[in-house]
C-alpha cells in the first residue's frame, strides 16, 4: 500500500449473493478508503448493500447463502479477499471487529457474559489463567458496566439492551482491533440509550486510535460521529465527502431525498 496512513483501501468491491432461487448483486463495485484513526459513516436505506459491504470485509456470508466477492480489500497491506479461512479467523476479532445491530440476540443466552469475553481473550491473546478474567473485568469496566466483577457472572437475560450492547462492544474491542465495524449499533436501542452508546464508541475510538466504520440509515447518528460519509444506494456509493459538505450541499439527488426524509425542526412544515 502506498499511503501508510490508510488502513483500509477497498477497490471495486463487488458482492453477489446466491440464494437457492436467485442471485443478487448486493454490492456493485464500490471503492473507498479508511485512514488510521478515522471514522467513516456509511448511510443508506435498508437493502442498499451497506451491511453486505461490512460482511464482505469480514468475509462473513449470511447463513444459507454463499457470497461471491470481487475486487480487492486491502487491509494494512494484505488483500483480505485472498486470505485463506484460517488466516481470516485469526484476523477477525483481533484486527477487525464488529458490533452488531441487535444486542438482544447477539449474545449466547446460555453462557455468562464473562465467559463469552474470556473465550475471545483466550483465543486472541497470550493471557492465560486468572489474567484472562482480569482483562474481562477491565473491559467491562471500560465500557461502563457497573460492578464488573459481579456482573461478569451474569447471563445475558439479566442485562438490559443498552447494557448488552456495551458488552458486545467490550467483546469487539477486547483485542484492540485496528478497525471497528459498527453495523447499525443503535438501531435496536431506546433513543436515550442510543446517545450513550454513540458517546461510548466515540470515546473508545479516540482513546485507542481505532478506525471506525459506522453503518447506519440515520443521518442524525452520522452527523456528530464521523469525519467522512459515504452514501450508498442500490449497491453503489453515490456520494462521498466530509459530513459538513454532504449535509450543507448534497450533490446527489438520492442524498437530498435521504436528508429530506428526516423531519427537521428548523424548517417550517406545511399544514396537511
Amino acid at each position: 500500500m502506498s499511503d501508510p496512513t490508510l488502513i483500509l483501501r477497498v477497490r471495486n468491491l463487488t458482492a453477489r449473493i446466491a440464494t437457492r432461487k436467485e442471485e443478487i448483486h448486493a454490492v456493485r463495485g464500490i471503492s473507498f478508503d479508511i485512514a488510521a484513526g478515522e471514522a467513516v459513516g456509511f448511510v443508506g436505506e435498508s437493502g442498499c448493500g451497506k451491511s453486505v459491504t461490512a460482511r464482505a470485509i469480514m468475509r462473513l456470508a449470511p447463513e444459507g447463502t454463499s457470497i461471491a466477492l470481487g475486487g480487492s480489500v486491502d487491509f494494512m497491506g494484505q488483500d483480505l479477499l485472498q486470505l485463506d479461512e484460517k488466516a481470516m479467523r485469526d484476523l477477525r476479532g483481533r484486527r477487525i471487529a464488529m458490533v452488531f445491530q441487535d444486542p438482544m440476540t447477539s449474545l449466547n443466552p446460555v453462557m455468562t457474559i464473562g465467559s463469552q469475553i474470556d473465550d475471545i481473550v483466550r483465543r486472541h491473546t497470550e493471557l492465560r489463567g486468572r489474567a484472562i478474567r482480569q482483562r474481562t473485568v477491565e473491559l467491562l469496566n471500560l465500557v461502563g458496566i457497573p460492578n464488573p466483577e459481579r456482573r461478569a457472572d451474569n447471563h445475558p437475560h439479566q442485562f438490559s439492551g443498552g447494557m448488552r450492547q456495551r458488552v458486545l462492544i467490550a467483546i469487539a474491542i477486547s483485542c484492540d482491533p485496528d478497525l471497528l465495524i459498527a453495523d447499525e449499533p443503535t438501531t435496536a436501542l431506546d433513543v436515550t440509550v442510543q446517545a450513550q452508546i454513540l458517546r461510548l464508541l466515540m470515546r473508545l475510538r479516540e482513546e485507542r486510535g481505532m478506525s471506525l466504520m459506522l453503518i447506519t440509515h440515520d443521518f442524525g447518528v452520522v452527523a456528530g460521529m464521523v469525519e467522512r460519509v459515504n452514501v450508498m444506494y442500490r449497491g453503489e456509493i453515490v456520494e462521498s465527502g466530509s459530513v459538513e459538505r454532504v449535509f450543507a450541499e448534497p450533490a446527489h439527488e438520492y442524498t437530498r431525498a435521504l436528508l429530506h426524509a428526516v423531519p427537521r425542526l428548523d424548517t417550517a412544515g406545511r399544514v396537511l
Binding site: L60, P109, V110, H157
Partner: protein, 292 residues
Amino acid sequence: MSTVRAMVDTAGSQNPPADKRQRLTNGQLLLGLGIAMLAVLIIVTVFAPLIAPFDPSKTSPNSLAGPSAQHWLGTDSIGRDVLSRLIVGGRTTLLITAVAVFLALAAGLVLGLLSGYLGGMVDEIIMRVLDVVFAFPVFLLAIAVVAALGPTVPNLILTIAIVYTPAMARVVRGPVLSVKEWDHVEAARSVGVSELRLVLRHVLPMVISPIVVATSLTLSHTIFTVTALSFLGLGPPPPDPNWGGMLSEARQFMELAPLTVVGPATAIVFATLTFIVLANGLREVLDVGSWR
C-alpha cells in the same frame, strides 16, 4: 429462543403462583412421577443380585407353581423363581437398551450436527442415507441384521443403535438448522471463533432440550424393541434371563401359570411407561412444544 428461555426460568414464570404457595404444573408432576419410576428401575437394576430372593438360573422340581410366600410370582416350567428372573432379567434388557440408545444418540448427534450445520451437499448425502435406513420397518431391519450377524448381545445392541440413529439425527438437525442462523452465532464467528467451537458452544447448547426429550422417548421405544426381538429368539441366549425371552418361554404355559406371563409383561409395560412419562414431563417443563 423459547426453549432456552424455558430452560432459564423453568422454576417460576410459567406457573403463576396460586395463593402464596407455588402450585405444580402438570408437567412438573409428570416429571416427578417419571423420575420416581426411573429411580425404582435404576435401584432394582443396579442391586438386582442383592434384591433377588433366589438364584435366577437355579432349577427345582417345583415347576409352574402358583404364588406362595416363598415364590411371590410362582415358578416357571423348570422350577425357577419368576420374581428373581424378572429382577435379574431386567438388567440384561435395560443394559442393552441403555447402551443401544447411547450409541444411537452419539451417532445421531454427530450426524445431525454435521448435516444441519454444514448444510448443502453434506446435508443431502447424510440425510438421504439416513432416509434409506429410516424407510425400513424397524423390526424387519433388526431381524435382518441380527439374522445376518448372529443373535449375540453386541449385535443386538448395534442393530438397535443403527435403527434409531436416523430419528435421533433428525431431532438434532431440525433445531440446528434454525439456531445456526441466530445472531449470536454470527457474532461469535465475527470474533474469530472456530467452526468446531461454534457448533459445540454456541449451537449445541440451544438444541439440548428437544434432544433430551427425544432420548427419553427413544428409550421407551427401544425397551419395546429389545423385548420384542428377544421374544422372537433374537435376544441374548438362554439360560440367562431377559424379559422378552421369559415372555416367550412362558407363553406355552400361560393357562397353567398366568403369572409367568403377567410378570414380565408388567415389567415391560412399567419400564416403557417410565420413559414415556419422563419424556412428557420433560417436554412440558422444557417447553419443547412439538419438535417431533
